[in-house]
C-alpha cells in the first residue's frame, strides 16, 4: 500500500500503524472507517454464499421434478438463503457498512460516540453469523423452516433449529448496539453550526433506522428466545397442544419484522437522496418533506405488521385496519420518489455509474412498491398470499431497493473509501447485465404468482414450466453481472486510478477531506454554515 498517494502529513486510515499488526490492526481497531470495511468484507463473503444458494434454487426450479437436489436440501437452502440475506446482510448492511464509515464524516465528527461498543458490535455480528451458519454443519440436518421460524413447525421439526434461532437472537444485540451508537452520535457530535435541518439526508435516514432498530429488535429477540425455550423446555407459548397460540407467534414476529423492512429500506432511500443531488448538480427538491417522510415511515411502519397475516385468521376489523394502514405507509415513500424525480427535472445531469444505479433503483423500487399496494389490498392478498407474486414483490423491494442502493453507495463512495477509481466501463457493463438479469429473474414470478404457483415449493406442475425457465435464465444472467461488478471493484482497490478528494464535485462534508480520509477525519472540526446540497 506504499504507492497510495500522500495528500497531507497525516497518515490515512488505511496506512495508519497502531498498536497491532497485520489482521489484528483491523479486528482490534476502534476506527469507525476500518470497522465499516470489516463489515463490508464479511458481508461480501456472506452475500456471495447466499447468492449462490439462490442461484442453485433457481436451477432446481428450471424444470418440474428433481433437477439437482432433493426436497429437503431445497428447504434448507431457502432457509439459509433467507436467514443470511435478511439477518446478516440486508438488515445490518447499509447502516453497518456505510453508516459506520460515513456518518461521522458527514456530520463532521472524528468518530462515533462509542468506538469500543462499535467494534464490539462487529464482534457480536461475527459471533452471531458463525452460530447461525453452524446450524448447517452439525446436528440433525440444516433448519428447514424458512427465515421466519414460524411456530409450531419451528419447535416441532427435528432439524437443527437452535443454532439458527440463537444466532439470530445474538445478531439482535449487534443491531441494537449500532442503533444506540448512531443515535447518540447524531445527538451529541454534529459539527458546530450543523443543526438538525442542516444534516444531510443519509444521516437522517440512519437516524430513523436507528430508532427502529432500538425499539423493534428487542421484540424479535424475546420471540426467538421463546422459540428456544419452547424447544428446550416445552413451555407452551405457541404450542396449541399446551394451550399456546401459533398466531401469537406471527404477531410478535411481524411486530418486529415489519418495521425491519423499513430498517432495510430507509438507509437505501438515504443513499439515493445523496446520489441524486450530486449528479443532478441541484439542491434536492423538498429537503424537509424527505426528512418528515423518513420519520413518518419509521413511525407508521410499526402499525402495519398485520398485513402479513391476512389469511391467518384475524377479526374483520383487524383485517381492514391493517389494510388501510398499509396503504398509508405508501404515502411517505411516494413523497420521496416524487422529490427525487422533481430534483432531476431540468437538471444538468452528470451520468456516472452511481447515478445509473440510482436510476435503476427508482425503476425497480417503484415496481416493488406498486406490487406492495396489490398485496396490501385485502381481496387481492387473499388470492396472492404465499405465491411467487409475494416472492417477486419482496425481492423487488429488498434486493431491488436495498441491494441496488448498496451497490450504488459502493460505487458512489468507493473513491473516498479506497482512494482509487474503479473502471467505469466495466462497472456500467456489469450494471447493465445485472439489471437485465434481475428483471428477467423476478418479473416472470409476478405472473407465476398470479396464475397460482405457491412460494417455497420445490416442485410444480407442467403449466408453470415456461416462466420458470425464463426466471432461472435470468438468475444466471444476474449472477454473471454481479461477478463482473464485484471483480471490477476488488481489482480496482489495488490497481485503480488514484482518486481526488472530491471526484463527483459533491458538497457534503465527507468530500472535504482527503481520499482515503486521514485517521482522525478532520484536522480541524469544520463549522457548518450552509445547508447540504447547496449547488446553485
Amino acid at each position: 500500500m506504499s504507492d497510495t498517494v500522500i495528500q497531507n502529513h497525516e497518515p490515512n486510515y488505511l496506512e495508519y500503524k497502531g498498536r497491532y499488526k497485520g489482521i489484528f490492526a483491523w479486528i482490534f481497531s476502534t476506527d469507525h472507517k476500518r470497522i465499516g470495511l470489516l463489515y463490508l468484507y464479511s458481508m461480501l463473503v456472506l452475500f456471495s454464499i447466499a447468492a449462490i444458494l439462490g442461484l442453485l434454487m433457481k436451477i432446481e426450479l428450471i424444470a418440474p421434478g428433481r433437477t439437482i437436489m432433493d426436497a429437503q436440501t431445497y428447504n434448507s437452502f431457502f432457509t439459509l438463503h433467507g436467514i443470511t440475506m435478511i439477518f446478516l446482510i440486508v438488515v445490518p448492511g447499509l447502516p453497518a457498512v456505510f453508516g459506520n464509515f460515513f456518518l461521522p464524516l458527514m456530520i463532521g465528527a472524528k468518530d462515533v460516540a462509542f468506538p469500543k461498543l462499535n467494534l464490539l458490535s462487529w464482534w457480536i455480528y461475527i459471533l452471531g453469523a458463525a452460530i447461525a451458519l453452524s446450524a448447517q454443519f452439525f446436528g440433525d440436518g440444516p433448519p428447514d423452516t424458512g427465515w421466519t421460524f414460524y411456530a409450531p413447525y419451528s419447535f416441532r421439526t427435528g432439524t437443527n433449529m437452535l443454532p439458527a434461532v440463537t444466532g439470530a437472537f445474538i445478531l439482535g444485540f449487534s443491531s441494537i448496539a449500532t442503533g444506540i451508537n448512531f443515535i447518540v452520535t447524531m445527538h451529541r457530535m454534529r459539527a458546530p453550526g450543523m443543526d438538525w435541518m442542516k444534516m444531510p439526508l443519509f444521516p437522517w435516514a440512519l437516524y430513523g433506522t436507528s430508532w427502529i432498530q432500538v425499539l423493534a429488535t428487542p421484540i424479535v429477540g424475546v420471540t426467538l428466545l421463546m422459540i428456544v425455550l419452547e424447544r428446550t423446555m416445552q413451555i407452551g407459548f405457541f404450542d396449541p397442544a399446551l394451550g399456546g397460540d401459533p398466531i401469537l407467534y406471527q404477531h410478535l414476529f411481524w411486530i418486529y419484522s415489519h418495521p425491519a423492512v423499513y430498517i432495510m429500506i430507509l438507509p437505501a432511500m438515504g443513499v439515493i437522496s445523496e446520489i441524486i443531488p450530486t449528479f443532478a448538480r441541484k439542491t434536492i427538491f423538498g429537503y424537509k418533506a424527505i426528512v418528515i417522510s423518513t420519520l413518518a415511515i419509521a413511525f407508521v411502519g410499526y402499525f402495519v405488521w398485520g398485513h402479513h397475516m391476512f389469511t391467518s385468521g384475524m377479526s374483520g376489523t383487524a383485517l381492514y385496519t391493517f389494510s388501510i394502514l398499509t396503504f398509508l405507509v405508501a404515502i411517505p415513500s411516494a413523497i420521496k420518489i416524487f422529490n427525487w424525480v422533481a430534483t432531476l427535472h431540468k437538471a444538468s445531469i452528470d451520468i456516472q455509474t452511481p447515478f445509473l444505479w440510482a436510476l435503476c433503483f427508482l425503476f425497480v423500487f417503484m415496481i416493488g412498491g406498486l406490487s406492495g399496494m396489490v398485496l396490501g389490498a385485502l381481496s387481492a392478498n387473499v388470492h396472492l398470499h404465499d405465491t411467487a407474486f409475494v416472492v417477486a414483490h419482496f425481492h423487488f423491494i429488498v434486493f431491488g431497493g436495498t441491494g441496488y442502493a448498496f451497490f450504488g453507495a459502493l460505487h458512489y463512495w468507493y473513491p473516498k473509501m479506497f482512494g482509487r477509481m474503479y473502471d467505469k466501463g466495466w462497472a456500467n457493463i456489469g450494471l447493465a447485465i445485472f439489471f437485465t438479469g434481475f428483471n428477467t429473474l423476478y418479473l416472470p414470478m409476478f405472473y407465476l404468482g398470479m396464475i397460482g404457483m405457491p412460494r417455497r415449493y420445490y416442485d410444480y406442475v407442467e403449466e408453470f414450466h415456461g416462466p420458470n425457465i425464463v426466471s432461472s435464465f435470468g438468475a444466471m444472467l444476474m449472477i454473471s453481472g454481479l461477478v463482473i461488478i464485484i471483480t471490477n471493484l476488488v481489482r480496482s482497490a489495488r490497481k485503480g486510478e488514484i482518486a481526488e478528494a472530491d471526484p463527483w464535485k459533491s458538497k457534503t462534508l465527507e468530500w472535504t477531506v482527503a481520499s482515503p480520509p486521514p485517521l482522525e477525519n478532520f484536522a480541524e472540526i469544520p463549522v457548518v454554515t450552509k445547508r447540504p446540497y447547496d449547488y446553485e
Binding site: T30, K110, D111, A113, R188, L215, P218, V222, M226, G243
Partner: protein, 204 residues
C-alpha cells in the same frame, strides 16, 4: 468544546447516559414482549391463572421486593457517596447492593426448588396433567422470573466491575458516569421486578 488528544479519550457524560437510557428502553421492550404474551393468556384463561397464582408464596415475593427496593436505594446512595469523595463508603454501599442481590437469588433458589420438588416445572409430568392455563402460567412464571434472574446476574457483574474501577481510583468524584450507568441498570432490574411481582403473586 475542548479538543481531546485522541478520539479514544473523548469524554461525553451526557452522551454516555443517553446511550444507557436508550438501552434501558430496549430492555423494557424485551420484557414488554413477554408482558404481551402474559396478558393474552391471562385474558384467555382467567380462572386457571387465578388458581395457579395461589400456589406462589406471596411472603417470599414480598421479601424479595423489599430487598430489591433497598438495594436500589444503596446503589443510588453510592453515587452520592462518590460525589462527596468518600471512596470507602461508596465501596461499602456497592457491596451491600451486591449482597442484597445475592440474598434475592438465594430466596429465588428456595422458591424455585420448592416448586420443582413438587413436580411443577416446564414439561414435568405433574404439570402436563394440569389445565392448559396452569401450564401457561407456570411456563411464563419460569421464563419471566428466569430472564429477570439472568438480568440480576448481569447487574451484579456490572456493579462488581465498577467496584474494581472505584477501587483503582479510575472512577472519582468528577468522573462517575459508569457508576451512574450501573445504577441505572440496577434500577431497571428493580423496576421489572416491580411489574413481575403483582402479575404473578398479587393478582389472584
Amino acid at each position: 468544546m475542548n479538543k481531546p488528544a485522541h478520539i479514544d479519550e473523548h469524554r461525553d457524560d451526557e452522551g454516555a447516559k443517553t446511550g444507557m437510557w436508550i438501552f434501558i428502553f430496549t430492555e423494557l421492550i424485551l420484557f414488554g414482549g413477554l408482558f404481551i404474551v402474559y396478558s393474552v393468556y391471562r385474558y384467555l384463561n382467567p380462572a386457571a391463572f387465578h388458581l395457579a397464582a395461589e400456589e406462589l408464596d406471596t411472603f417470599i415475593g414480598t421479601v424479595n421486593t423489599v430487598i430489591l427496593l433497598v438495594s436500589s436505594m444503596t446503589i443510588a446512595m453510592s453515587i452520592s457517596a462518590i460525589q462527596y469523595k468518600n471512596k470507602k463508603l461508596t465501596l461499602i454501599l456497592m457491596s451491600v447492593t451486591i449482597l442484597l442481590a445475592a440474598v434475592f437469588m438465594v430466596n429465588k433458589y428456595f422458591e424455585w426448588s420448592g416448586k420443582i420438588s413438587h413436580g411443577i416445572y416446564p414439561g414435568s409430568p405433574t404439570l402436563m396433567e394440569a389445565s392448559q392455563g396452569e401450564i401457561l402460567f407456570f411456563g411464563l412464571y419460569y421464563a419471566m422470573t428466569g430472564l429477570h434472574a439472568i438480568h440480576i446476574i448481569i447487574g451484579v457483574a456490572f456493579i462488581a466491575y465498577v467496584m474494581v474501577l472505584v477501587a483503582k481510583d479510575e472512577i472519582q468524584h468528577d468522573n462517575f458516569v459508569i457508576l451512574e450507568n450501573s445504577g441505572l441498570y440496577w434500577h431497571l432490574v428493580d423496576l421489572i421486578w416491580i411489574f413481575l411481582f403483582p402479575l404473578f403473586y398479587l393478582i389472584t
